[in-house]
Every structure is written in C-alpha cells, then in structure tokens.
Subunit: 146 residues, 4 copies
C-alpha cells in the first residue's frame, strides 16, 4: 500500500464565520488526496472517467480533531486500506506540522457509465498491490514531519 | 421582459472569516436566479442541456454594495436585458428588505454540445419577447418590498 | 425530540463532472437543516454565536444511497438523537419524494469563544427535551411523502 | 508594480455538470493570487486582519475566454494596477500553458474593524511602489511560458 502526500494552504474562501476552515471543505481536500494517490500510482482519474470508470463516494467519515485556520499549510496523507471486488476504502490523515488535525475515510465504489458497480480496474488493483513504499505507516506523523 | 424573484437565506458555509457572505457565492446565487427565470418562462435548464443546449457564462460583473450576513433572508431579482443572436445579457439585483445589497450582470453564450456558439433557442427567444410583466422595473425595490 | 424539515433544490454549482450533486455539498445541506431545527425550537444560531456559544462539528458521517441531480427538489429531515453534557448528536435523512437518497449524522460540540467545551445551553436542552412532535420517526418517509 | 504567480490544479469539486470548472470558482482562485501577491511583498493577509485591516471586494469582473477542465494545471498572474487612498485595483491573468483562459479584476477597499474605509496601510503602499520586477507585463504569457 502506498501513501500520497498533498501539501496545500487553507484558502480564505474555505473559512467560515468561526474564522476556521469550514468542515465541508475537508472532503474536497480528501478528493485532492485521491487524485494525487492515483497520480503517484501512475493513473489519471480524468482518463479513467473518459474510459467509462467512475469512482463514487458511497460513505464518508471525518473526525475533526483541531481547527485549522486561514493560510495555514497542511499536509494530507492518503492511503488505500482495503480493496474489494468493486470498491476501495481510502483513509486520510491531515497534519499541520506534527499535529494530526483530522482523519477520515471514504468508501469508493467503481461504477460504469450507466451507474452500475464494476470491478476495480486491474491497473488500479495492480498498482495498489505493489509493495508498499518504505516508511510511513499512517499512524504516526510522516517521516519528514516526525 | 420578465423578472424572476428568488428568495433564500444566507447559509453558514457561505460566510467567511469576515463573518459576511463570501463574494464568490454571489455568482452561485445569480445562477439560481437564472434557473428560476427560465422556470418562470416555462423552460427547464436541465432539459435544455439534455437537448444539447448549454448556457455558458462568458463575462461576469458583480458590484457589492453592502455586506450580507449569516441567515439573512435575501430576494434576488433576475431579468434579461438584451438578447443577441447567440447570447443574452442577464442582470441581477439583490435585496435585503428594501436595501439593494448587490447588483450584477452576466453575458451568457449559448453553445452546442461541441462547445460552438448556436442561436438562442426559439423557445427562449419567444418567451423573452413576450410582453413584460406589470410592475417591477429593476431600478427600484420590487413592489412588495417598496 | 423534534424533526425539522428543509425543502430545497439542487443548485447547478453543486453538481460536478459526473452531473450529480458533489458529495461535499451534503454537509452544507445538513448545516441548513440544523439552522432550521434550531429555528423550529425557537432558537437562532446567529444569536447563539453572538452570545459566545458555538456549535462545532467534531465528527461527520454521510451515507450516499442514490445520486441526486441538478434542480431536483429534496427534503431534509433533521433531528437530535442524543444530548450529552456539552454535545449533541444530530441525524439527517434526505429524501427525493419517497426515496431516501442519503442519511448522515454529526457530533456537535458546544464551545465558548475561547474554543473550550461548555455545557449545552439550557434553552437548547429544554427545547430538545420538550415532547416529541407527532408522527415522523425518521425511519420511514415523512408523513406527507409516504 | 509586481506580479505574483500562483500555480495550481483544477479540483474535481470545482467542476460542474458541463465537466468544466464552474465560473464561481475563479474569484476563489483570484483570492489565492492576492494572498500570494501580498506574501511576495512581504505581507501576511491573516496578520493584516488581526491588526484590524480588512480588504473587501467591492467590484468583481471576470472574462471567461476558454473553459478549463479537471486536473489541468493553471498559472495565475496577479498584479496591482492602481492604488487609491483606500482602495487598490487588482488584475488577474489565468493561463493554461501559453493560452490565456481568463482575465479579471477586483476593486479592493480597505476597511477597519467597524467596516469603514481606511487608508491603504503604508506597508502595502510602500511595497506596491517599489520598482517593478523585471519582465512580465501582464499582456503576454509570463516569460517561462512564452
């Protein structure tokens, strides 16, 4: 299993009247993480859709541990935890320096262009089955933050 | 020419760290106004797209006159000001009670499914050419607010 | 316990490249439901914040059952399921006619202006403890939809 | 005058049912450009707000020239064109490789914590008055793209 790392800053538009990032923006960040995970695996989600394979979010869970503020730089770690016949479970850890500010997971179902579940494409399955990158296990800050 | 009236409340997620509605949400509200204008004219934008006609925003102008806050109830007035061969200019007035809080306009270009400009559909052109509803002229608060 | 009912249409800006509502917009809808629930209880969330009480989302769970599309009219049912010392669990059912398209829940923690947990305000606790409205139990379509 | 350069990818959540970036996301990108422009000038917008100076968008104009798609990498160039007593005009050019896909401008008014206009802070005024960086003039692709 592999982890993708996405580094970004909190946008002003992403904050709300409490002056912290609004909770609905975290799934948008997770989606960036999934795109980067696929890219790291040599896959391109846009091309997957053009080929008729869509990843649909069937279930979303987010745990908000610490508020994050405008312009803070965050690092999102994205990993696949399980692969089923037509679904994958993706897990997310969001860090500000060495503080874990949120975690989450999504159940992604692969569907064809008519919206029916299809098998996880072999390119994705093979990429996910490749030996895990050294190092980060997802339960501690990523190496260069630790 | 007709004016559509859309009534809605400012959502919490639409506010930003200044505790006012973020400026990028106004074009989203204007889009709701366009949908309601089409609906009032007996047209359905979703069906237009399925039939291969897309309205694309080519130019957007917004003047922000007063800040608006969480949960305030606003009324958006939406009118077509000009109709060209393949475009329409839509204008917007946003009111909080009898205070004009913003105005705007968008240049909408009609395009086909390959992205090329096409003529304004006759159903839309005819609907827009029908005699103007009584009353509101767009430069004063709408009647029931005045 | 009470259920608030919020009726709204899917905005075009809320759809994504799959031509369905993007999954990150559901927590924004849930937030509208919470505001309406408080309003139905005679409370005003904006005034609560001005008085120094903030409801913070600590945990979010959404199950997406059916896709929803542009301009569809949806009904959101929002209820408080549990009330703790400084938290409430709010549950959501989203309906398109008599089809349950999504469910969700959020753990809301009450915090003061310095970000520390505080007791659930007595006005809210009392309102939630009032006898339950007749009828809808949250596990079947609301009465006028059934 | 200086130009800041911001490089980013189009997020999936930013696309709409036409499979292109929704027009309301461009002002969010422009806001990122302003933050980067201030950062390049040695200023920090978050700190400005904490010190009681807010930049409010009073007027927004966007010209959409070409659609942009999911995952495309874009470069935003942000420059201040005019500085008034309590306002600045900021202009934006958005590029995909050497194609100008959009341009825009915003009138920014400086306001104090009570919402009244105040003078442009001297740190900002001085930074803007410093000699212009070599090269890019805003009317041609930035040098490394040309």
């Amino acid at each position: 299993m592999r982890a993708a790392r996405t580094r970004f800053r909190v946008r002003y538009a992403e904050t709300d009247g409490q002056r912290i990032a609004h909770h609905a923006v975290y799934p948008v960040w997770f989606e960036m993480g999934r795109a980067d995970l696929l890219r790291d695996l040599g896959l391109d989600y846009g091309a997957m859709e053009e080929a008729g394979t869509f990843m649909v979010v069937a279930d979303l869970h987010v745990r908000y541990r610490r508020p994050v503020h405008y312009d803070e730089e965050l690092v999102l770690e994205t990993t696949v935890r399980e692969t089923g016949r037509s679904s994958v479970v993706v897990v997310y850890c969001l860090w500000r320096d060495d503080v874990q500010v949120a975690t989450g997971e999504t159940l992604m179902v692969m569907v064809g262009s008519e919206g029916r579940p299809i098998s996880v494409p072999s390119a994705l399955r093979d990429a996910l089955a490749a030996p895990r990158a050294e190092g980060w296990q997802g339960d501690a800050p990523p190496p260069d933050l630790a």
